[in-house]
């Protein structure tokens, strides 16, 4: 067909599409369609056909037309939302065909994204609930997700809904079961016994997912199991065998299973679990063996005697990667469980020959220093280290050596005096690392102040081990994580997922993720791996904030006082601040915290600094007055550049907004 003007082309194509001869011939029809698609400016003409499609008799056409509305809206970018179209889609929620209904929900969610997505009111919620059984598994999972937005008005309605959802907990699709479980947990927020009951019923499907052949499903299910164990520690104890690692499983799944095993230990299964972990400690993969040993160390906090015995036996294997981790575990253990000190001290002699890495050496030296009185040959082991201090590469080891030898000197002066002198001489006169030299000088001056003074400082009363580690959180209530169930939050960890999902804007280019090993070892909900550097966040646009820019407090104060406020803004904020989460999230975007008030201080203040790659400094003050729901942000810039200032503000706003969302 010859090229005619645009309107004429459209008419020709429309005629061609309706021509039965062309419709009958597949190839010709396809050619016409391709010409339509390639026609420039075709977007203007698609609205009418799509609207016609919404009212077509064939449900298949309606399905496609509904999704076409969403695509159309996408093509038109930031144009106004067409009210008539939205109303039409809302009314199509009552369509006969179940897939049309679900497509309508998806479409409305896309179109109304700016306003927070599709609104689920009472009639819609009830309509969806009644039609759930006709949907396929994908539809059911989506509808369950949308129903999370609905708040039932009365307790009666709430329990009616829960009764309806009951059968979906037995669905064959893991996605539907988890979606239903999450809805249960959210709806039954005020009824903890209902929540516990649902978690019991979802045990079976979750365990089935943990042994699934699909690795992704398996990993996600294991992360959820760990999540549940934080609230209900005894929940999976009787099914501990399902978490035994099989030889052919990938590394990341084995690590998760080991973590789960040490969390579900109880009196009845501890024997078998320890035996199984013992088997893993001699695994050919050093990483996995070490993870198993750390797990035994975890269990040892409660079942000390058996674990210490196993760890002692492992020392006899005289393998480097095993010995170093066992000694580190012992170090942590004697502090938490002083009753095992005797057993540990008996096991230590002989270890020093098999440890080469920094962590292991530090642990061994610390133990020798603190408990050296009970270990007969402690001074001689330390003497070995002192002899070789010149060739010691790790400064941390040297510092530990100084402290340990000082401690041991106070309890066994005759044996240690000479080598302490030599060590101090080396550290002060010949050592190049300033931190070590400082420590050496400190020890020397302490001794000059007198032995009693030194004893007072070094042998001060120890903290009460029953207080446990700060990390060991008390059992968290289910409501604290119910909203994260059946999402990627248990897999990534809360803070990290918040940053990732905020960055995935319409441009769809997420930040670079570090390798999976760090995910597999994510422990508590606020993971340490957020401290990774070198992440690009596309939000910053023209701005590149440099990591590792540390300013001293004096420098910050001086610069702050010398600059004028470049920008002031007020951001909405609810409730109190959690300084740790804040600091962590800011660090992910390379904004350093100079000072921050502790949680609950009124008024709450924070001072932040950041530097971009041209050397321009951004100093920020955050102020949260009591009884207001807003945070005042003041930014000072060392060089006046509006563009980078705006970029910096948008990054800051994103982070503050994320943290705000996290808490709600």
């Amino acid at each position: 067909m010859p090229y005619l003007g645009s309107e004429d082309v459209v008419k020709e194509l429309k005629k061609a599409l309706c021509n039965p001869h062309i419709q009958a011939d597949r190839l010709r029809y396809r050619n016409v369609i391709q010409r339509v698609i390639r026609m420039p400016g075709v977007q203007e003409y698609i609205q009418q056909p799509i609207l016609n499609g919404l009212r077509d008799k064939a449900s298949y056409v309606r399905r496609v037309a509904v999704l076409g509305c969403a695509k159309m809206h996408n093509l038109h970018g930031d144009s106004e939302v067409d009210g008539a179209l939205v109303n039409e889609l809302y009314s199509l929620l009552r369509d006969q065909d179940p897939i049309v209904v679900v497509n309508c929900l998806r479409s409305l969610e896309e179109i109304l994204k700016q306003e927070g997505g599709v609104v689920i009111n009472k009639p819609i919620a009830h309509h969806l609930l009644n039609r759930m059984s006709k949907l396929d598994q994908w539809g059911q999972a989506e509808v369950l997700h949308f129903l999370l937005r609905y708040q039932p008005r009365s307790e009666e309605e709430l329990f009616d809904i829960l009764n309806l959802l009951d059968s979906f907990l037995k669905s064959s699709s893991a996605g539907v079961v988890m979606g239903a479980a999450k809805l249960f947990l959210i709806l039954a927020k005020k009824f903890p016994h209902v929540q516990t009951d649902v978690l019991v019923r979802v045990k079976g499907p979750l365990l089935a997912a943990c042994s699934s052949e699909s690795r992704e499903l398996c990993f996600a299910a294991l992360c959820h199991v760990r999540q549940i164990l934080h609230s209900l520690p005894g929940h999976f104890s009787s099914q501990y065998k399902k978490f035994f690692c099989s030889y052919s499983e990938p590394h990341y799944i084995k690590l998760q299973k080991v973590e789960v095993l040490c969390e579900l230990v109880n009196d009845e299964n501890v024997q078998q679990v320890l035996e199984e972990l013992r088997g893993y400690c001699t695994d050919v993969s050093a990483d996995f063996a070490q993870a198993a040993i750390f797990a035994i160390g975890n269990i040892a906090r409660t079942y000390t005697d058996q674990c210490v015995q196993i760890l002692t036996e492992l020392l006899e294997l005289r393998q480097e990667h095993i010995t170093t981790v066992v000694v580190q575990t012992f170090r942590d253990l004697v502090w938490l469980c002083p009753q095992c000190t005797e057993a540990v001290c008996r096991a230590l002699p002989g270890c020093e020959e098999h440890i080469q890495d920094s962590e292991g050496k530090q642990a061994l030296i610390w133990l020798l220093g603190v408990h050296g009185e009970r270990i007969p040959n402690a001074p001689y082991v330390l003497e070995d280290f002192v002899e070789n201090v010149k060739s010691e590469t790790f400064p941390a080891v040297k510092m530990e050596l100084l402290t340990a030898l000082l401690r041991l000197f106070l309890s066994r002066p005759a044996e240690c005096q000479d080598m302490l002198g030599r060590l101090l001489h080396y550290c002060i006169e010949e050592e190049k690392d300033m931190a070590v030299r400082d420590r050496g000088l400190f020890c020397y001056r302490l001794l000059l102040a007198g032995v009693d003074e030194a004893k007072r400082i070094l042998c001060s009363p120890k903290s009460d081990p029953s207080l446990r580690l700060l990390e060991d959180q008390a059992e968290r209530p289910v409501n604290s994580w119910a909203a994260d169930f059946n999402t990627l939050v248990p897999v990534y960890g809360k803070a990290r997922w918040a940053v990732i999902s905020k960055c995935q804007g319409p441009e769809r280019c997420g930040p670079e993720l570090p390798n999976t090993a760090s995910f597999a070892t994510s422990g508590p909900l606020i993971p340490q791996e957020d401290k990774e550097r070198g992440q690009d966040l596309p939000d910053s646009g023209a701005l590149m904030l440099v990591p590792d820019c540390q300013l001293t407090a004096e420098y910050f104060e001086k610069t702050w006082l010398s600059l004028q406020v470049a920008h002031q803004q007020v951001l909405p904020w609810q409730g109190a601040v959690h300084p740790d989460t804040f600091q962590m999230a800011l660090q992910v975007v390379n904004i350093q915290t100079i000072a921050m008030s502790r949680a609950g201080a009124q008024p709450w203040k924070a001072y932040l600094s950041a530097q971009d790659d041209t050397g321009c400094l951004f100093l920020t003050e955050l102020l949260l007055e009591p009884k207001t729901s807003e945070m005042q942000v003041s930014v000072k810039q060392s060089e006046a550049r509006t563009e980078t200032l705006n970029s910096f503000m948008s990054v800051l706003e994103t982070v503050i907004g994320t943290i705000g969302d996290l808490k709600s």
Partner: protein
């Protein structure tokens, strides 16, 4: 002109704009027509199954002989640690059905389900406790919830009707005792004893026992009391195949490998011994299909056939 090309349509019918649409593979197959024939007007239509309430079965299917085949396949998973203490043994069963039946007719299946027996007051009879039961989309769940009846309109062809899990302790059907002696720099001697711990009347078919062997082993020599042994160097295993293994019997295999005088530097893992087998006419659970009723008005007969099979799932025994 004919174009031989797989049409991209099924992909779009599977996912549209990122959302899954139809995933039933049987229905999707109806879209793929490889021949470039001319479509006659009037016949072109979308398969009505896509728009039906019964989305898993097309209308107007006719067969000469109407048959329903039910396979009850139970898989046994076993994990035994190095001390020969059985860590876990459990079985799960996807029980699949094959249906060559005319028209959408309703079928009803009766099992010796313990909950059903208790409901109908037959708790004394031999019954099976099924856990974690999952059904195909076609089964009417409401009826199962009410009175444990399994009623369904079957799709055409093969499909998985239901799957269940048994948590009861299961005796390992094939028990392996092994002694692997490694004399470094010289040789490896393997002795494997396989014992069938199931009833004498049953016979296990296609038994394959794979025993791991160090990767630097050479010159294999085997002696088996039954079956044949083969060294598979790509996988570093010896596969001992026994075509027919009756219950209660015990068989022995000995293998001898040489080791090079230069020992390998890297440490190797210790893979477990794996076993594959299939035992027909046998279920671990004792489940029985008591009846299969076809609700059919026009009075045509369909023949039900039931087959029981127990097969190995993830069956591993660790070596020390």
């Amino acid at each position: 002109m004919r174009t031989a090309r797989i049409t991209p349509m099924p992909r779009r019918n599977l996912m549209d704009f990122g959302f899954p649409q139809t995933t039933d593979s049987k229905i999707l197959q109806e879209y793929i027509t490889q021949q470039g024939n001319k479509l006659e007007t009037g016949k072109s239509r979308v398969p009505p199954t896509v728009t039906n309430a019964v989305s898993w079965r097309s209308e107007g299917i006719k067969y000469k002989k109407n048959e329903v085949f039910i396979d009850v396949v139970e898989s046994v998973n076993l994990l035994v640690n190095a001390n020969a203490a059985c860590c876990s043994a459990r079985s799960w069963a996807p029980s699949s059905s094959r249906c060559s039946c005319r028209a959408c007719r309703s079928l009803r299946l009766g099992l010796n389900d313990r909950v059903l027996f208790e409901l109908t007051g037959r708790s004394k009879s031999k019954s099976v406790e099924l856990e974690d039961v999952k059904f195909h989309q076609c089964v009417r769940l409401s009826r199962f919830d009410n009175d444990r009846t399994i009623s369904f309109i079957p799709p055409d062809g093969d499909f998985e009707l239901m799957s269940y899990r048994l948590n009861t302790q299961v005796k390992p059907l094939i028990w392996i005792e092994s002694v692997i002696e490694k004399f470094s720099h010289s040789r490896v001697e393997i002795m494997v004893k396989a014992k069938g711990q199931f009833k004498k009347q049953s016979v296990a078919n296609g038994v394959e026992i794979s025993v791991p062997v160090p990767s630097d082993a050479d010159s294999p020599r085997f002696k088996t009391s039954v079956g044949s042994a083969k060294y598979v160097p790509e996988k570093n295993v010896v596969i001992w195949s026994i075509k027919s293994f009756p219950g209660g019997k015990e068989y022995l295999m000995r293998a001898h490998f040489g080791l090079p005088s230069v020992e390998k530097e890297e440490v190797e893992g210790r893979p477990p011994i794996g076993v594959k087998f299939e035992i027909p006419y046998f279920t671990v659970s004792g489940i029985q299909v008591r009846y299969m009723k076809i609700i059919e008005k026009s009075g045509y007969q369909a023949l039900p056939w039931v087959r029981y099979i127990t097969q190995s799932g993830d069956y591993q025994l660790r070596t020390s």
